[in-house]
């Protein structure tokens, strides 16, 4: 009874938890593959996850996922609503730690380091694995302070000019510098939605992370702002490893090199983006990308 209550509380804030409670009615006719189809692993992984199970209380949100994320690649995680892709993404920098009832099992490696090693400091992890959220969430501070927050927090810049440099280069990388250079002292919340999201990207790359996780970064934006963000992801892809969760298959096709298709907590198929969208191997993947559900 108490667990169910907690579960309900979480479900309101976490889409993945909401999913986990829903009965599995979707396309029961098509069986899940025994193991992930395609190429979930790669030769030179930045991050490698094995046997990942995630539970919200008693219900399981992710079932035995194996996946590698290659160096400097953009990998798109797609799937119908509540398939566990966001939950999976949030495991990669331990953002799920903040949810009391969330239990994560399996091994998560960031290069040689075990992410869930109790000795590993979560602060250090999040400096290495940055995150951009679904809704633009700049701090209610100035644009400058928004970008400078991370470097300051981690002591990356000791002098004012170093900080200035980091802020400028981050804003440049995020393609926002020209738009905001004259008003760095104005509130970040006063920018347009697309600008805010680019500010959030600038904020997360200001600490020079190795991996950037993006949780549906464009779902709250209009097409023009979306196009700008996608361009930005393209530009960043050479320097950072990016994992992006998206609802838009076109977006996945445009920005990613590899695509992973999740279905009800299972990783069905991982392949080169081209392959997934032109010749999906599994029937569920095909059903999803042809729009039979989702």
């Amino acid at each position: 009874m108490e667990t169910a209550q907690k579960l309900n509380d979480t479900a309101q804030t976490n889409p993945a938890a909401r999913m986990a409670q829903e009965p599995e009615t979707m396309n029961q006719r098509i069986p899940y593959p025994e193991r992930t189809i395609g190429k979930p692993l790669c030769d030179d992984p930045k991050m490698s996850m094995r046997n990942v199970d995630v539970f919200y209380g008693d219900s399981q949100a992710i079932y035995g996922v194996d996946l590698d994320i290659g160096k400097n690649e953009v990998i798109a995680l797609i799937g119908p609503s509540g398939c566990g892709k966001s939950t999976f993404l949030r495991c990669l920098n331990r953002m799920n730690d903040t949810i009391d009832i969330c239990k994560v099992k399996g091994s998560f490696m960031l290069e040689q380091d075990n992410i869930y090693d109790p000795k590993l400091d979560v602060v250090e992890l999040r400096a290495r694995v940055g995150m951009v959220f679904q809704k633009p969430n700049p701090f209610p501070k100035s644009i400058y302070e928004n970008v400078a927050y991370g470097p300051r927090l981690h002591g990356l810049a000791n002098k004012k000019f170093e900080l200035d440099e980091i802020v400028e280069s981050s804003l440049r990388k995020a393609g926002l510098w020209d738009e905001v250079k004259d008003r760095l002292d104005q509130p970040g919340t006063g920018l347009s939605g697309g600008q805010q999201q680019r500010l959030c990207i600038a904020r997360s790359i200001a600490v020079s992370p190795e991996v950037v996780l993006m949780d549906e970064p464009c779902s709250a934006l209009d097409p023009i702002a979306t196009a700008k963000i996608e361009e930005l992801i393209d530009e960043l892809s050479g320097q950072y490893t990016i994992a992006i969760v998206t609802h838009s298959m076109q977006q996945a096709a445009r920005v990613s090199q590899r695509t992973a298709y999740f279905h009800l907590g299972r990783l069905i198929e991982v392949n080169d983006t081209n392959t997934v969208f032109t010749a999906p191997e599994h029937a569920l993947t095909e059903a999803y990308i042809t729009g039979r559900f989702g």
Binding site: D100, V122, R126, M131, F139, Y149, S204, V207
Partner: protein
């Protein structure tokens, strides 16, 4: 015209009239409230303003060393204990030589406030050359004279001034030997049995120290409790139980907190009675629930996305709270604190229980000096029989309101400043 349109038209009339009715109710309620405020303020101001001035009587004081009983002016003891009232009595006898008989004389001497002698003493102590000279002095009048002088001529019959003394006062008035001056002592003295000497300053400082203790304890403790409960505490039966209890505490009658303070702080811990420290502790207990509840509400209203952003940037929970949640929640917390402090400032009942109702003349110098507070002073004066205390009560209420308004204005300004940082 279709059937639907017709139906809608019919219902429109009822809808409009109900809207009008609702608006009329609203306006009536607001007007009633305003009227009540206006009546209250006019009543208090009309009664209270006369207490801000008081009557003085002009007399010819002859500084006679013999009458004073001083043979060695260099001895401070002699200056201190000298009989200054004798000078005043002599001056009164001189002004009204026709008054004879013991009873009449006594009535005559009572024209001047019993505290007037202290003024003469201070003057002499400051200037010994006065001895032997004659001087015109303005001396504080007794409260009965004060009320009589301040009253309109047709109202004077009803005043308490003895029948025999009326012609004397009228004579003084006629000769320009009475004057109404600014009542400075009201803002510099403590309580007194004599209304003309009673002041509100002891109560103001008492209130100030009490509020200081309350604010210094209740705000940090309340905010810390709210932050812990909202951001760090696990959600389980125990924290639910704590939450229910905090809500219950907010509804406990304040006199219970007074009893608690009496039992714990005074009897158990042995703190002194009647002091602002204990008053502040008791009021802290009383205001804590209010502050915790409002602080929790304002912490809750900080969007979770800000928390995620901070955590995602690698901030620890503590940093998240300190850098983002608290600054955003601060205006709301301050509002709660203002409400709590305003409540505490006006609180009388719990302070009665810990002895702050004592008759205290001295101005307290710190939170460990016996003192009273403004609402208790108002209660004490409202309870006093002398007619002059009516005006004093209203004047003290005005001071209390001014205190409250100043405090709230400060807090609102502070809040505005914090809010401007978006």
């Amino acid at each position: 015209m279709s059937k639907t349109t017709e139906q809608v038209r019919k219902s429109l009339k009822a809808r409009y009239s109900s809207e009008k009715r609702f608006r009329a109710f609203g306006i009536t309620a607001v007007a009633f409230g305003l009227l009540a405020v206006v009546v209250l303020f006019t009543d208090i101001i009309s009664k209270g303003t006369s207490a801000f001035v008081e009557t003085y009587i002009q007399l010819e004081i002859h500084w006679d060393p013999e009458e004073l009983g001083i043979d060695d002016p260099t001895d401070p003891d002699q200056i201190n204990v000298a009989d200054y009232d004798a000078l005043i009595k002599a001056a009164l006898r001189e002004r009204f030589p026709e008054v004879e008989g013991r009873l009449d004389r006594r009535a005559l001497y009572q024209l001047v406030s019993s505290g007037a002698g202290f003024k003469l003493r201070d003057q002499l102590a400051a200037n010994l050359d006065l001895l032997g000279t004659t001087q015109t002095q303005w001396l504080l009048a007794d409260d009965d004279v004060d009320i009589f002088i301040k009253a309109d001529v047709e109202d004077r019959q009803s005043k308490r001034l003895p029948e025999v003394a009326r012609p004397w006062v009228e004579a003084l008035e006629r000769d320009g030997q009475t004057d109404i001056q600014w009542n400075a002592s009201f803002f510099s003295h403590g309580d007194s049995r004599e209304p003309e000497q009673a002041g509100v300053w002891a109560a103001v400082t008492g209130s100030f120290f009490t509020m200081l203790v309350t604010l210094a304890l209740a705000f940090p403790i309340g905010v810390a409790a709210a932050v812990y409960l909202e951001e760090f505490a696990p959600k389980n039966r125990f924290t639910d139980f704590i939450e229910v209890n905090i809500n219950n505490l907010a509804a406990v009658p304040s006199i219970i907190f007074g009893l608690l303070g009496l039992a714990i702080f005074i009897n158990l811990f042995g703190l002194p009675r009647s002091v602002p420290l204990v008053g502040g502790l008791v009021l802290t207990l009383m205001t804590l629930p209010t502050i915790i509840i409002s602080a929790r509400a304002s912490i809750k209203s900080v969007p979770p996305s800000i928390r995620e952003a901070a955590l995602g940037m690698g901030a620890s929970r503590m940093q998240m709270v300190m850098h983002h949640v608290l600054p955003l929640a601060m205006p709301g917390m301050l509002t709660g604190a203002i409400i709590g402090m305003a409540q505490a400032l006006g609180e009388t009942a719990p302070l009665l229980m810990i002895g702050m109702v004592a008759f205290i003349v001295d101005i307290p110098g710190g939170p460990l000096d016996a003192s009273t507070v403004l609402p208790v002073q108002i209660y004490l004066w409202a309870d006093s029989p002398e007619a002059s205390f009516v005006a004093l009560t209203s004047a003290a209420i005005m001071v209390l309101l001014a205190f409250l308004i100043t405090m709230n204005t400060l807090a609102v300004l502070l809040r505005k400043r914090l809010e401007r940082r978006w």
